[in-house]
């Protein structure tokens, strides 16, 4: 298994597979219900002009979340991609 990194540390344009997800918290319940589950693949589309929040593509739609949440979501970068 490749090393896990946080969702917020992905480089723009890279894809990754979600691996670990916090169990508690309203934010994470909602993210989970919106389809972010272990095994889901996500792509970091862009960060906002001021650096926060970030925009990801998940299950074919675009979602924005703050780095404060994305910091707790661990992902496995797709093979051959780099993190920043």
């Amino acid at each position: 298994m490749a090393d896990l990194v946080t969702l917020s540390s992905l480089a723009v344009g890279t894809s990754a597979v979600l691996r670990e997800f916090p169990k508690q918290g309203v934010a994470f319940l909602r993210l989970r219900e919106m389809g972010l589950l272990p095994g889901t693949s996500v792509t970091l589309v862009r960060t906002a002009p001021l650096g926060d929040p970030i925009e990801i593509k998940v299950r074919g739609y675009n979602l924005t979340l703050r780095k404060s949440e994305a910091d707790h979501v661990m992902v496995e970068p797709a093979a051959g991609t780099a993190t920043k």
Partner: protein, 706 residues
């Protein structure tokens, strides 16, 4: 398990609830189904819009359609989502449980949209599934086997494109079916959780007196959201159910079962199998979509701000320029009407009550309408195209500095035109506390009613025309800046103290850009305008009549015709009465009258000053302004010193920046917060702060010899 009767009682029109994710085109479908036959109100007790309309089946049978607020899940987290959950679970006493449910899903984004459908099918109610935006899905190369979906779920599935009207007839045919099949909604609750579901369901049936299927749905919700208080909402759990729940939670905590995740995962697994079966792509999506290409500009570090600035600038300019035209019409119309009525009623107190109290009061309400409508038009366009979410996306970082999120930006910006539409626009903010903070600080933004006051006072402050225009503009900008800093400062303070809460969430979908549905936007604009006129209007009208009364009675005694009737009136006496309070700010009783009368609308200050300083009115407005300016500059205190010194003018402007002096805003805040507590708090804290700041400025200014 006996299914509930699918056939509704024939005594009344059957009730359909329209549910779906945000951005799935639900409102467009609602408008297409009901046309203009809709009623917009509020759910009692909460400020959530309640939209009910009448639609007709293909066979002409009338039926009632409730447009429930959009939600991603029945595990509600905002008041809007809670309404959807409570109506579907039959918890609301004011809204009967719908007979049938129309689930609208965005066909381009089936997986996430089906999550809510999956939860709703648990309810065991008759459901019609509408696959909306099929045109977009087809254009994107998605092929959806609706008949297979219909077969697997066992419920009617209608493909539809609400924006073009495609599929509406099929939907209306489905609506007229006398009986609807119930879904064969078989999915496996994860083994680790299944016993808890049965136990909770049994307890909810026995101790909480719920119907079997509702009990099961509630049990599943209790096991989705860890916060059982949030799930149970207004109907607290019975002690027994609560006990069962906590004992299971303890057990799972001990053996490390991630129970909340298990249910969501199981649902998505089941949805994944379903979509794998029914979706085929005829052509692989190639390259970035149109939305991606637009976003590359709109959220660009440089261009993003330019586009944002231009859009906001256009919005603002339209409000200030275009609104002036219909505002002129309204003034003329009211003047003509008031002249006509004036001829009908003989002169006397009743005449004055109708003309100066009621009609002028109504004018005070509707004069704001053009600005409000234009702002709602822009907000509607921004929402309907998908830009609103991008504006929140790029502004979020700045707003987070004061503890708010990006969604608070547009309501605050709109408040520069008029706080009323700004406050009403705060409904798009999900978290109740953030919404309240936004509402509380919105009136600090200098609205257009303050503009005439600033202009008059700047004219009085900066005497002659030789002074560079830049100085006047500079003072004006200073006032706008003060208000803006005030708003953000207090937002920060409230989020730190009074309304401290979890840091605001910024989990938001960025929907694909779409062409705006002009019909939907106009309809929404008119509805919101109507709400303002109807609900706020009655309060404003009442308060306007009171203000008129205060400014009229008691009248001058007949033997004293030379006196000033305003000074003699209750308002005038109130001016005297508040003089001790405002004297430390350098204001005398005459300014006090202006302050009191400003509650009708801040610009009334100008006409109030005109009356007090007996400025002769002519038809030439600019001449009137000059006369008024000169009258202010000539005004003296009893000791012969000037009343409107530069320090006083400046101080008065600062007072207008910060003080809450607008009954219309108070009425709207009352409506939006559903209590008198917050508008009164707002009145107190804003006016108190204004008083304090002006005290500091005046006393410091005096000490420095100005």
């Amino acid at each position: 398990m006996t299914p509930p009767p699918a056939k509704p009682a024939s005594a009344r029109a059957s009730v359909y609830a329209l549910v779906g994710n945000p951005n799935c085109g639900k409102s467009t479908l609602f408008n297409a189904l009901t046309g203009l036959k809709q009623k917009v109100g509020n759910y009692p007790g909460v400020t959530v819009e309640r939209k009910v309309g009448t639609a007709y089946t293909q066979h002409g049978q009338p039926l009632t359609v409730i447009d429930l607020p959009g939600t991603y899940s029945l595990a509600a987290r905002s008041p809007d989502e809670a309404v959807t959950r409570d109506v579907l679970l039959g918890r609301r006493t004011d809204t009967a449980m719908p007979d049938r449910i129309i689930c609208v899903v965005d066909a381009t984004n089936l997986e996430r949209n089906l999550y809510l459908v999956h939860q709703i099918l648990d309810l065991g109610r008759p459901v019609i599934l509408v696959l909306n935006m099929m045109d977009v899905a087809e254009a994107a190369g998605l092929k959806i086997h609706t008949s297979r979906l219909e077969h697997t779920l066992g419920i009617p599935v209608v493909s539809c494109a609400a924006s073009t009207g495609r599929g509406l007839i099929e939907l209306k045919l489905a609506l007229s079916r006398p009986d609807l099949p119930l879904s064969r909604h078989a999915w496996d609750v994860p083994a680790a959780i299944a016993p808890a579901v049965s136990e909770l369901q049994a307890s909810l049936q026995d101790s909480d007196k719920k119907q079997p299927l509702i009990a099961r749905a509630e049990a599943l919700l209790l096991l989705t959201d860890q916060d059982s208080v949030r799930v149970s909402g207004s109907t607290p759990l019975s002690p027994r159910t609560q006990e069962i729940l906590s004992s299971w939670e303890k057990r799972w905590a001990a053996d490390g079962t991630d129970w909340a995740a298990a249910l969501v995962n199981a649902r998505y697994d089941s949805i994944g199998r379903l979509t794998a079966e029914i979706i085929g792509t005829s052509s692989a999506p190639s390259g970035p979509s149109t939305s991606d290409r637009i976003d590359a500009w709109v959220t660009h570090p440089v261009w993003g701000w330019i586009i944002f600035g231009v859009l906001m600038g256009v919005m603002f300019l339209s409000i200030f320029t275009f609104a002036g035209i219909p505002m002129g019409w309204i003034e003329n119309l009211v003047a003509a009407f008031s002249g006509w009525v004036s001829g009908l009623i003989p002169a006397g107190d009743f005449h004055d009550l109708v003309i100066d109290g009621a009609i002028a009061g109504v004018e005070g309400v509707i004069i704001f309408l053009p600005q409000i409508l234009i702002l709602f038009l822009f907000i509607g366009l921004l929402e309907s195209t998908g830009y609103m979410a991008r504006a929140a996306f790029i502004m979020d970082r700045l707003m987070s500095k004061v503890g708010l999120n990006g969604r608070s930006f547009i309501p605050l910006l709109g408040s520069y035109a008029c706080a009323i539409p700004g406050i009403m626009a705060a409904r798009t903010i999900e978290q109740p506390k953030d919404r309240l903070v936004t509402i509380l600080v919105a009136p600090f933004m200098s609205c257009s009613a303050r503009l005439p006051v600033y202009l008059l006072l700047i004219a009085a402050l900066v005497p002659d025309e030789q002074v560079p225009v830049g100085l006047k503009i500079g003072i004006m900008l200073l006032m706008y800046a003060l208000g803006t800093f005030g708003a953000f400062g207090f937002a920060w303070l409230f989020k730190k103290t009074l309304l401290r809460g979890a840091p605001p969430l910024m989990i938001m979908e960025l929907p694909p850009y779409r062409l705006p549905k002009i019909r939907d936007v106009l309809l929404q604009m008119l509805e919101r305008g109507g709400i303002f006129v109807k609900r706020a209007g009655t309060i404003i009208l009442g308060l306007s009549i009171i203000l008129w009364f205060l400014a009229t009675y008691p009248k001058l005694p007949d033997n004293q015709p030379e006196g000033d009737p305003l000074a003699h009136s209750l308002a005038g006496r109130a001016g005297h009465a508040i003089e001790p309070a405002i004297a430390p700010l350098g204001f005398d009783w005459r300014i006090g009258i202006g302050l009191i009368q400003s509650f009708a609308a801040r610009e009334v200050f100008n006409s109030s000053m005109g009356v007090i300083f007996a400025v002769e009115e002519s038809d030439d407005e600019s001449a009137n302004e000059l006369h008024l300016r000169d009258a202010l500059r000539a005004a003296e205190r009893p000791d012969g010193t000037k009343l409107f010194t530069p320090l006083i003018c400046l101080n008065l402007m600062v007072f207008y920046v910060f003080a809450m002096q607008c009954i219309s805003t108070i009425a709207v805040v009352k409506r939006e917060t559903n209590s008198w507590k917050w508008p009164l708090f707002q009145l107190a804290y804003m006016t108190g702060f204004a008083w304090f700041i002006c005290l500091v400025i005046y006393q410091t200014g005096r000490a420095l010899g100005y």
